[in-house]
Amino acid sequence: MKIAVLVAPAVHPVSGRPCAGEADLAALALAQRLSSQVDVWYAGAADDAALADYLARGADNIHSLSLSPGSDVLAALCSVLQGVDMVLCGARAGGGDGSGLLPYQLAEQLGRALLPDVLDLSKSDQQWQALQALPKGVRRTLAAKLPLVASVHARAASAVGWSYARLQQGKIQRKAATGAALPQVVLEPARRARALVAASKVSGHARMQGAIAGGEGKSAGIVVKQGDSVEKAQVVLDYLRQHQLVDF
């Protein structure tokens, strides 16, 4: 299986120096775990030194498509990614002005399925199953057939450690490419957010009382003082089942 990994230099949040982006590193690590035929691509105007971190952290060879600053990388990347089974990239470039749109645009242009914010990929039957990271630690499984594009979440398992020897051995191959102009950015006035209105105006203490102290209110809870720990746990479990908060 041929995998292409797309990387781009990130901007270090403290020093502003170019370094490797966490999500791109995770994509590189995932690709190397899945296949031995991994090509690493970069498109843009960064110099070789800005890509050095990727060499030191596992990329043997980076194909760098040299574009003039400020040009759109989409067309240049699409032209080299046609024959690739799987395209992996970081969900968004680290720092800078990245919009995070590239994976979506790539999937659209290449006519492939996109698995966004992937933590891990595994093969089952003819499909590739992805563990997707959602906010607040929620996980979801997605599946798609090859060829596909997957954007890797920054929290996915990271690449190998930084090695000076790999930095010395790694190569960056520059290839000339033509980039299109970036589409015009349309700025809109910010929409005013609607102020949130509290559902009830009673105090927090009163609401807590309503929730736990019993009484007439519908939302009143139960205070269990009798019984042993198993019985008390049963009450909690019943409550959770009743409100479909657990499914066993």
Partner: protein, 629 residues
């Protein structure tokens, strides 16, 4: 009979000599696995001085053992020389036999003393063949005594005489085997031959001229990336491992070993011996790395780390040099640890714990903690501390180091500036132009990172005009003073303890006049000031100068226990039974002073990080600032 006994001795002598030479050739072929090294043959001439002076300095700290060794080794060498003359060269002189009897008696005494010590051997000593060595040496000495005695007594021997002669020959053969075969088979007496050659071709020969504790730079351009396999060691480094006598003084001094981390410096050296001899030497019979098996699997051609040596062992070292300081054979453990780390870091990129994060921070921000360079001197914002501009002149340049980002240590830095100002010292700082000195990078094996930082710092410092550098961080001090010269940076660097001592001696610091005696405290020696730079007196003189009595811990000065930070150990954080700073705090508690003076930002952080009730940790400069008038 005497004729035949003398000839038998001649035969035995030459047989032993041939076996010894054959064994030496075999061992030398093992050393030849290593890389070539530039050594001076003049080292052979310097050997006696190094033996009788440099080694003696270390051995004499244990006088009983030193005396036993003088008797056993002195007697043994004399026996061998006299035998070479009298029997090797077939002179067969009676008066030489008299000398021989005397020397044999001396050796017998020495071997007896060693045997007595072995009866209650401290746990640091190796057992196995080492345990029976004194008995073998006694056998040899007794054999020599009997043989020489018989020969001196005269040619006419009765039946009893002949029997004694046979017994003496047997004793000589049995005991002499230990001497003749030791070097070839890796038996204990290997240490005599390898040890002398090690003295002659020491990998750090400059240590015999003056203090030498700097790590040597790698030639990165030539592709040197540390030691992966036995073949990557210099040949004289392999030789140095064979000098080990397994006395375990390193083991007893090692803070990581005491903390139950998987490092025993003695075993580490023996692991290297096992790797170079491919396991053909007798099995190791000492304490293992804590929590590990003693036996090692040696596969020829494999990387050392991961086969002979676990990576955790390597990363447990705090580079405190307690082992080097205590080694009677002058083996340089820390060089080996760092050389092996360099391979793991530079080639494999496998730095455990927060070590890799620290190295990434150094690459990306030039600070260990990942701070912006511009905030390094924020603590001095109201102190009116001049920022040195290129081309401007100052007498003292203050390098605050990484401690400047630590809110606790900022108090100490403010105190230092206050004292220097009160003393009228013209001091300035670099501000955002100051980068990390590279100490952590280098000890964690990132030689490339160290050289980048060092060269950047040297280039930066070259733009400024200053007479001297002062820093409160012993790691910065050691790097700049001892390790930058190899990369072309020559600076006069003082640790702040030396400057404070100097100012107090000149009465330049206005001190309070009241004579209220200050409560005594104890002083914790930073490794990189003490063992690395012999800076034992300056901080004590400062404390004396402000009228504070120092209650010394049993382990202080040269024997001071590390705080556990050095060598990046605080970052790699290999688990053990205890934490090193907790043990040090126990030492401090034992003094009963309730206060400890420190002279290093890292010792400050480690000792203040001890949980539960602990002594107050006060920086040297803070104590002086308290006494300002």
């Amino acid at each position: 009979m005497s004729f035949s006994l003398a000839h038998a001795l001649t035969g035995l002598f030459w047989l032993g000599a041939l076996l010894l030479l054959g064994g030496l050739a075999r061992r030398a072929s093992l050393w030849q696995q290593g890389r070539s090294a530039s050594v001076s043959w003049l080292g052979l001439l310097a050997m006696p001085k190094r033996y009788f002076v440099d080694i003696h300095h270390v051995v004499a700290r244990e006088p009983a053992v030193a005396r036993a060794h003088v008797a056993a080794a002195g007697g043994g060498v004399a026996i061998l020389l006299l035998s070479a003359l009298n029997y090797g060269l077939m002179l067969y002189q009676g008066w030489l036999d008299v000398l021989l009897v005397l020397m044999a008696a001396l050796m017998l005494l020495g071997a007896r003393m060693m045997q007595a010590r072995r009866l209650q051997a401290p746990p640091r000593l190796s057992q196995g063949r080492w345990q029976v060595l004194p008995a073998r040496l006694r056998l040899f000495a007794l054999g020599s005594l009997l043989a020489a005695g018989l020969l001196f007594a005269g040619p006419q021997l009765g039946m009893a005489g002949q029997l004694i002669a046979v017994v003496a020959l047997l004793m000589l053969a049995l005991g002499g085997a230990e001497l003749a075969l030791g070097i070839g088979l890796g038996w204990p007496m290997k240490h005599a031959v390898a040890g002398l050659l090690h003295l002659a071709f020491h990998p750090r020969a400059e240590r015999f001229a003056a203090k030498s504790s700097d790590l040597k730079p790698l030639n990165l351009a030539a592709g040197e990336l540390g030691v992966a396999k036995v073949e990557d060691f210099a040949w004289n480094r392999l030789l140095s491992f064979d000098a080990c006598v397994q006395c375990g003084k390193c083991e007893a001094a090692c803070p990581a070993y005491a903390a139950g981390q998987p490092l025993n410096p003695k075993k580490l050296i023996q692991d290297m011996v096992a790797a170079q001899s491919r396991g053909t030497d007798p099995a190791y019979a000492g304490n293992p790395h804590p929590g590990r098996e003693a036996a090692v699997m040696v596969q020829p051609g494999e990387d050392i780390v991961g086969s002979v040596l676990a990576a955790e062992t390597l990363w447990s070292c705090t580079t405190c040099r307690a082992c080097v300081e205590n080694c009677p054979m002058l083996i340089e453990h820390v060089d080996t640890v760092v050389n092996l780390r360099r391979h793991v870091t530079l080639s494999r990129g496998e730095v455990p714990g927060k070590g890799s994060e620290a190295l990434a921070n150094l690459r990306n921000t030039d600070t260990v903690g990942g701070y912006p360079l511009a905030v390094r001197y924020h603590w001095a914002i109201d102190l009116d501390l001049p920022l040195l501009q290129p081309g401007e002149q100052t007498e003292w340049l203050l390098l605050a180091g990484e401690g400047a980002f630590d809110m606790r240590y900022q108090r100490a830095l403010r105190a230092l500036v206050k004292v220097l100002k009160a003393a009228g010292v013209k001091v300035a700082v670099l501000g955002a132009a100051e980068r990390d000195c590279g100490d952590v990078a280098r000890r964690l094996g990132d030689e490339a990172g160290f050289q980048r930082l060092a060269q950047a710092n040297i280039a930066t410092l070259a733009q400024y005009r200053f007479a001297r550098i002062v820093t409160p961080d012993p790691h910065v001090f050691h790097c700049l003073a001892n390790e930058y010269p190899a990369l072309g940076g020559q600076f006069e660097v003082w640790h702040h303890s030396k400057l404070l001592e100097h100012l107090l001696a000149r009465r330049a610091i206005p001190l309070k006049a009241d004579a209220t005696p200050l409560p005594p405290l104890t002083f914790h020696d930073p490794c990189y000031l003490g063992r690395y730079n012999d800076g034992y007196h300056a901080p004590r003189n400062v404390l004396k100068g402000i009228g504070i009595k120092v209650v010394e811990m049993p382990r202080s000065g040269r024997d001071a226990r590390c705080c556990g930070w050095g060598g990046g150990a605080a970052f790699t954080d290999i688990p053990g039974q205890r934490r090193i700073p907790d043990m040090r705090m126990d030492d401090i508690r034992e003094t009963g002073t309730g206060r400890v003076a420190v002279a290093c930002p890292n010792c400050t952080a480690m000792l203040e990080g001890v949980v539960g009730e602990r002594a107050d940790v006060i920086e040297l400069a803070e104590l002086v600032a308290e006494r300002l008038a």
